[in-house]
Every structure is written in structure tokens, then in C-alpha cells.
């Protein structure tokens, strides 16, 4: 089966600019996740969707970050305006359903953002 697709793989922007990342999960996976991985740290969950509804966005900086999954398939994560501390790898993952304990997450290769 095809994996989780993400684009772009790399992006360099100036602070205060905007950027968008796209994710296409594995076909049939109802749950989609966006994680932020800062260099030297473990991934941190930003937002989790079940189909096109938000399950958890408690750690999403909503003043500058937004995400949507309009048709319950692919998803877009946007940052506007970007700050230096947003430099990180943004990982998208998907799983068959909620209850990720038994439904293992499959991760994409990530989108590396550098904010100058």
C-alpha cells in the first residue's frame, strides 16, 4: 500500500512569512495527525483529526497555526506568520481509526521548515 505522502519536503522562509504543508494519508485511514519535531526533541502532537472533525488541538498555537481536513482525506497545515521557533520537521501520520493503541500510526517522511 502507498504510504503517507507529504509535501514539500523542505521549505525555507523568512520570519513573518506564511507556509503551508500538505498531507495525504493512507487510503481508508480515518484518523490523521500532525506532529511538530524540533531538533533534538521528540515529536509533539499539534492536531488530530477523525475524518474531517478535530479530536484534539490542545497544543496547536492557534494564533498562527491552522489545519484543515475538509473532505476527510488529505490535510493542510498552515503557519502564518512564521516565527524563528517554528523551525522544525512537521510530520503527518495516519491510522485506521481512533484508539491509536491498537491502530498503529504510519508516518510520512516529514516536511522540514527553516525560518530565517
Amino acid at each position: 500500500e502507498a504510504g503517507v505522502a507529504q509535501s514539500p519536503r523542505y521549505k525555507i522562509i523568512e520570519k513573518r512569512q506564511s507556509v503551508a504543508f500538505w498531507c495525504n494519508p493512507i487510503s481508508g485511514h480515518a484518523t490523521l495527525y500532525w506532529y511538530q519535531q524540533i531538533l533534538g526533541q521528540g515529536p509533539k502532537l499539534l492536531i488530530q483529526f477523525q475524518n474531517n472533525g478535530v479530536v484534539d488541538d490542545s497544543q496547536l498555537p492557534k494564533d498562527r497555526f491552522s489545519a484543515e481536513r475538509l473532505k476527510g482525506v488529505d490535510s493542510t497545515l498552515k503557519i502564518q506568520p512564521a516565527k524563528l521557533e517554528d523551525s522544525a520537521v512537521y510530520l503527518c501520520a495516519s491510522s485506521l481509526d481512533l484508539g491509536a493503541g491498537a491502530n498503529v500510526l504510519t508516518f510520512g517522511a516529514g516536511s522540514r521548515l527553516t525560518v530565517l
Binding site: 533534538g40 521528540g42 484508539g99 493503541g101 498503529v104 500510526l105 517522511a109
Partner: protein, 114 residues
């Protein structure tokens, strides 16, 4: 709140030597436990998972981990490492109650040298 601690940020080891990467978690309820591996410029790949049953879990690439409830640990082991095992290893936990969120540790970089 659940948390995961990986005390070793980096573990250097020679090829064909055994290795253990340590992971401790804090939770007052039952948990699901995972080890993921991340090769350079790649996403995370599941190595193994503990959901229930046998406390010794075998994963891919010859890795295994043992769930120890009394010590709240889930250490990862391999009896003989290869150069290709050089990567970042992340321990992760889900609390088996209510909303299930996967929480990662800070990672351990395994450096295998010839």
C-alpha cells in the same frame, strides 16, 4: 499526565556488540508502549509495540523490548547491532483511558561504529 523519559540522549556502541536503550514512563493507569526508529531524513517507523499479554515483545530488525510494570520501564534491546542500526530511537506511550494520545520521549541516538 503521562510522560516518557529516555535518559540517554546518545549511545555509542561498536558493531556486533549488544545494546540497551532505556525508556521509563509515568502513568497510574495501564498503557500501550511503542518504540519507533527514525533514520536520517526519514519519517518514524514502528519497531515494536506492547498492548497486552507477554511482557517480552519482539520487533523488526532483531530488536526486542520488555515491559516491566513494577519498574515502569520498556527498555529496547538488541544482542548484536549493525552499522545500519545507526538512527534515532523514540519510546512512546498511550494511556489506556479516555482520549488516546501518543506521547513521545526525547529520543536516543544510537551510533554504531566499526
Amino acid at each position: 499526565a503521562q510522560s516518557v523519559t529516555q535518559l540517554d540522549s546518545q549511545v555509542p556502541v561498536f558493531e556486533e556488540a549488544p545494546v540497551e536503550l532505556r525508556c521509563n514512563y509515568s502513568s497510574s493507569v495501564s498503557v500501550y508502549l511503542f518504540w519507533y526508529v527514525q533514520y536520517p531524513n526519514q519519517g518514524l517507523q514502528l519497531l515494536l509495540k506492547y498492548l497486552s499479554g507477554s511482557t517480552l515483545v519482539k520487533g523488526i530488525n532483531g530488536f526486542e523490548a520488555e515491559f516491566n510494570k513494577s519498574q515502569t520501564s520498556f527498555h529496547l534491546r538488541k544482542p548484536s547491532v549493525h552499522i545500519s542500526d545507526t538512527a534515532e530511537y523514540f519510546c512512546a506511550v498511550i494511556m489506556n483511558t479516555g482520549f488516546q494520545k501518543l506521547v513521545f520521549g526525547t529520543g536516543t541516538r544510537l551510533l554504531v561504529s566499526p
